[in-house]
Amino acid sequence: MDLILNRYRNLTALVAAIFVQLVLLAYQVKSNQEVRLIRVWAVSAVTPLARLLEGGRSGTVNFFRDYFVLLDVREQNKRLQTDLNRVQLENQVMRAELDTAERGKALSIFQEQSGMKTIPARIIGNSPGSNGRVVLIDRGTGSGIQPGMAVITPDGIVGKIVSAYPYASNLLLITDPTFAAGVLSQKNRVHGTLKGTGNSSVIVDYVQNEQNVEVGEWFYTAGDDRIFPKGLLAGTVTAVRPGRTVKEISLSPSGLQHGLEDVLVILEGDHKPIPDLPPPNQSVHLQPLPPAEGDAGLAGDPLNTAHNTSNNSGGAQTDLDREVERTRRIGEDQKHVFGERGRGAPDFNKVPDPSVSRPAAAPAPRP
């Protein structure tokens, strides 16, 4: 036996290595569990180096941008006009600061207004292999991240966490072929399954040919996949074709349209109704606040108008806030002081005069 093993030493080593890995592979496929320890070691080894590289890259880029480019501009402008040079330099620095501040502000505003508990994260690397669409983010289990958590930007959904390590996590993008999430169309309330294609676009599957979906229509998350809360933007329909059994719907993912750098991981989601209007096109990318459920019959109701005004101004953010505001206005209109003994209750069916000036809505304290 030893003679045979020595004689075929090379082949024995190959067969042993392949056999060990096949057993490892079979165990993972059979038990549907990953060998976490090896992955933790690998990611923990790579993450500090990736952070170091990212720090070095951004430092170098900033150095070249802030020093050499500006030095060059300064030299050119010295020949032309010294004063103009100084103004241009100041302008560039301020613009860069403004861009950074706006991006951070957009994320921060969205984080506050979404009503969800989220944590910001930065993308620090890609996953090896050209087949998948998985990226590495700089937050892990130490920040409360767990596999299965949804990841979004103010523009829409981005993907989900597939594995979390102490200081980093793998984020499966919605463009990955293995990604799937339940979605609902905004206009016709058509239910489907969003799937990645491996390209920059995604598709919505399992929509019957008889159902009506239009180009330009928005799709929102349906909330039934237990990953994404209901009411998050998924994307806009770019093409619809009748298929053999189901419709072929292509979607442009809204969450990826401005590139990926900073994202939000949803720690605790909050289901929201699908809005009746598509999201407004504004410079700060905020998801629209949903109208109150069952307000369809109150189109001419001044209180309802007040709700919308309040929504746009960012005052009342939840249904409870709007209800508190409505009650307060009815009380003011009928000169009723809430909480006073022997006064009973005001007439809640009496709509107050819309011409009465209303003070700026202060957000009610949340229970």
């Binding site: 290595a17 392949i18 096949l22 490892l24 990953e34």
Partner: protein
Amino acid sequence: MSDLSAGFSEPPRRRKVSKFRWVTLVGIPLAAILFQVYVPRFFTYLAYLEMPLLVTVYFSLRRRSPPFGVVFGMCIGLAQDSLSNHPLGMFGIVKTLVGYFAASVSQRFEATSALLRLVLAFFFFFFHQFFYWVLASALLGQTVSFEPVQTLVLGVLNAAVAVPLFRILDKLDVTE
């Protein structure tokens, strides 16, 4: 062509086995994996480069030991698997085979000529991609697309990068 024939004609017993510092044997594969993880994020057109594969081929060719090729390929492949979303072992098995065959080839040929290195890098890239597709389809039941023409083109590009890369790595050889 004469370069290639020169590589083939050397007698087997006179071939030297290259030696590298352990820092090189650990650092270069780590750098190759980091390259694949980090660089395509900013230069997407470099995503086609399979640096871990090229490094596996190079060290297996230089060390001329199939057991070394097996272990080296397995370690790089498993490290790659650990950072990806696949089950552990997919890249591991493929790179184990690449390491083994590259080391076996080097026992017969002196792989120092640029042309031979070009051919071997191209062949092993195609082998790597094809065998990965076979494994993903057969073992995992995944519907992964395999496009031969695209793979051939990428193979040529990887081989073109392999030749100067191998030349640079030759400088790290500490054989007396």
